[in-house]
């Protein structure tokens, strides 16, 4: 198929349709409303169901019902909406219901603003609502990658029977870039566990209650084992890292800015590189650990007060100093700004 110029929100919607999404449930919120609008137009024509829910709380529970009934299902929202979905996400994880959730994050806390931000990293990667659950989290940096990861997200959700979050930001949702889509995929996951009406067979149950502590512990250990297996899905990109002395750690939009800054640093003779996580959970811990053996220092750049940097530090475990530069409240750092930080770090480790 030819390349098309599309907004990130629309590209994700189109990719989901090509992945065979059967139902979409969501509630309008800026800056992701193009996604439900695209779905409202396209999904019914392609044999699926679209429903605008009364709230994000209802939307994620509709996702739970449809996913539990074996359908490929998704929702999309932005930061305050994800807060409302935390309850449902916990039940989805506990009941092992696959689904895809898109978070086009915006500035916070509270109502914050509608500018792009990365301040939902903790919320996305450290828990799925209450309890010991996790989401698989994918962080695209381009529109093409957003489309590709959307298709991957459905497969991962079904392979691990766990919700998968695509964590973008307001700019990724709104900006336009060329994108091409793969041929429609055929789904090959086993959904014999789904509640589709028992027929003559054994009854099935979508459930997260395990009253006996021993049983619940066993269930939690089972979830933990899934997350251990999911480590094999870890993805990252190393850019100009071969001989890098300063490694910039950044994902999503911040990584695009960092890439420009790395090129500018190289032009000035500073051996900078970029190590970009594509999966935020599982986090590319080994990649950072190995990089820390070779570089003089790392610099985490985020559109947050410093969230992913904690995972970088946990990965590096003191092997190299980790510096941090963040812009908050929806402010996007510029390449010259990040270049200045790279120069500072380079000077620091030269001393």
């Amino acid at each position: 198929m030819d390349r098309m110029l599309m907004k990130g929100n629309e590209a994700i919607a189109e990719a989901a349709l090509r992945a065979g999404v059967q139902a979409y449930f969501g509630y309008p919120i800026t800056p992701q409303s193009e996604l439900p609008e695209y779905m409202a137009r396209e999904l019914p024509q392609r044999g699926g169901g679209f429903l605008q829910a009364e709230s994000e709380v209802a939307a994620i529970n509709m996702v739970y019902g449809a996913g539990g009934a074996g359908a490929r299902v998704m929702t999309s929202t932005s930061s305050p909406g994800v807060s409302l979905m935390q309850e449902g996400l916990s039940y989805l994880v506990g009941s092992e219901v696959p689904c895809v959730v898109v978070n086009m994050a915006r500035g916070g806390p509270g109502l914050g603003n509608i500018a792009p931000a990365q301040s939902d990293y903790f919320q996305a990667t450290k828990s799925a609502g209450h309890g010991d659950g996790r989401l698989i989290v994918l962080a695209p940096a381009t529109i093409q990658e957003a489309a590709d990861l959307t298709i991957l997200a459905f497969d991962l959700a079904e392979r691990y029977r766990n919700p998968v979050m695509i964590l973008g930001d307001g700019i990724l949702g709104q900006m336009m870039e060329p994108v091409s889509f793969p041929q429609p995929v055929t789904r090959n996951g086993d959904v014999s566990w789904a509640t589709t009406g028992a027929g003559d067979g054994p009854r099935r149950l979508i459930n997260s209650i395990h009253l006996e502590p021993d049983n619940l512990e066993r269930h939690n250990l089972h979830l933990l084992e899934k997350y251990r297996l999911a480590q094999q899905e870890v993805r990252w990109e190393a850019y100009r890292m071969d001989d890098a002395a300063v490694a910039v750690a950044a994902y999503g939009l911040a990584a695009r800015v960092a890439r420009s800054a790395v090129d500018r640093a190289r032009a000035k003779g500073i051996a900078a590189g970029l190590l970009r996580p594509i999966t935020l959970f599982p986090f590319p811990t080994q990649a950072y650990r190995q990089a820390a053996e070779r570089v003089r220092a790392l610099l985490a750049v985020e559109m947050s007060a410093g969230q992913m940097v904690e995972d970088v530090r946990l990965a590096v475990e003191g092997r190299a100093p980790v510096f941090f530069y963040g812009r908050l409240g929806g402010v996007v750092p510029t390449p010259p700004e990040v270049l200045t930080q790279i120069e500072k770090v380079a000077a620091e480790v030269e001393r």
């Binding site: 059967q22 139902a23 449930f25 169901g49 429903l51 829910a53 009364e54 709230s55 709380v57 209802a58 939307a59 529970n61 509709m62 996702v63 739970y64 019902g65 449809a66 996913g67 539990g68 009934a69 074996g70 359908a71 299902v73 309850e87 449902g88 039940y91 009941s95 509640t195 589709t196 009406g197 028992a198 027929g199 003559d200 009854r203 099935r204 149950l205 979508i206 459930n207 997260s208 209650i209």
Partner: protein
């Protein structure tokens, strides 16, 4: 010899965890009998909610999903939208449906979502130990209204079927009571009609089932039934208030001796 009664096939032969005198067992049996009689066991998916009926999936020989507190109508919506030819029902208590799940029930009803809701109203939170419910009567003592429910502090009992009857979406709305053989017979007819409404694709159906909770009410089971008749019926009048054929009725409270 002729067998005149048996356990419905939709019910499993297992002990239930309900307290003595609780009417959940009766309501479960009515739902199971209707599922048997309509021959829909293999294509029915239940949605259990949070409350005393949280474990009802252990008692029914059906596919089940367990919903978060109040969210059963949203979960049922999700299932129905991807499996429109299956029969989907929720079974919810008064706290679940009329407090924490108010938004979900109103919007499912307003969409005319083609699902069936069995709404158990016993005027109290049973599972958490007898706290005030949205349907707790004025003056009624609960563990969180130790001096009786005071409208100035805690508002009024919510009349759910009357509330939903203001919407255009619902196809069938009825209130029944499990207060004796005659009423239980009527309750079963209403539950059957609710499921039939869904089977005929006519839209949202809800049956409010007035029930007893003798343990949290602090009564003997028989006294609880009498209390239901004496105090709940004046507040929650019985009958079909909305039917799929368009016939609408006005629910008239029963006359009592004035003690209600």
């Amino acid at each position: 010899m002729r067998q005149i009664t048996a356990r419905p096939k939709a019910l499993l032969d297992v002990p239930m965890h309900y307290c003595p005198g609780c009417t959940h067992g009766v309501a479960h049996r009515l739902v199971a009998e209707v599922i048997d009689e309509l021959g829909i066991r293999g294509k029915t998916i239940g949605v259990a909610s949070v409350g005393c009926s949280v474990f009802m999936y252990n008692y029914f020989d059906l596919d089940f999903q367990q919903a978060a507190h109040g969210r059963a109508p949203a979960v049922a919506t999700g299932i129905k939208r991807v499996l429109p030819d299956r029969v989907i029902f929720t079974y919810q208590g008064d706290g679940d449906l009329a407090a924490i799940g108010t938004a979900e029930i109103i919007h499912a009803a307003n969409r005319g979502e083609n699902i069936t809701v069995i709404f158990i109203n016993n005027a109290v939170y049973g599972m958490t130990g007898g706290q005030m419910a949205p349907t707790t009567l004025l003056g009624m003592r609960t563990t969180t209204t130790p001096f009786g429910r005071d409208a100035r502090l805690a508002g009024y009992p919510i009349r759910v079927v009357e509330l939903l009857n203001t919407l255009r979406g619902p196809a069938y709305l009825a209130r029944v009571a499990l207060s004796g053989p005659a009423q239980i017979h009527k309750a079963k007819k209403a539950i059957r009609r609710a499921f039939q409404t869904q089977l005929e694709g006519k839209g949202f159906s809800l049956v409010e089932v007035l029930s007893t909770c003798p343990v949290t009410w602090g009564m003997q089971p028989l006294d609880a039934v009498h209390w239901l008749e004496e105090y709940m019926l004046p507040e929650f009048p019985l009958g079909e208030i909305r039917t799929p054929d368009g016939r609408e009725a006005v629910l008239v409270p029963v006359q009592t001796d004035g003690k209600g």
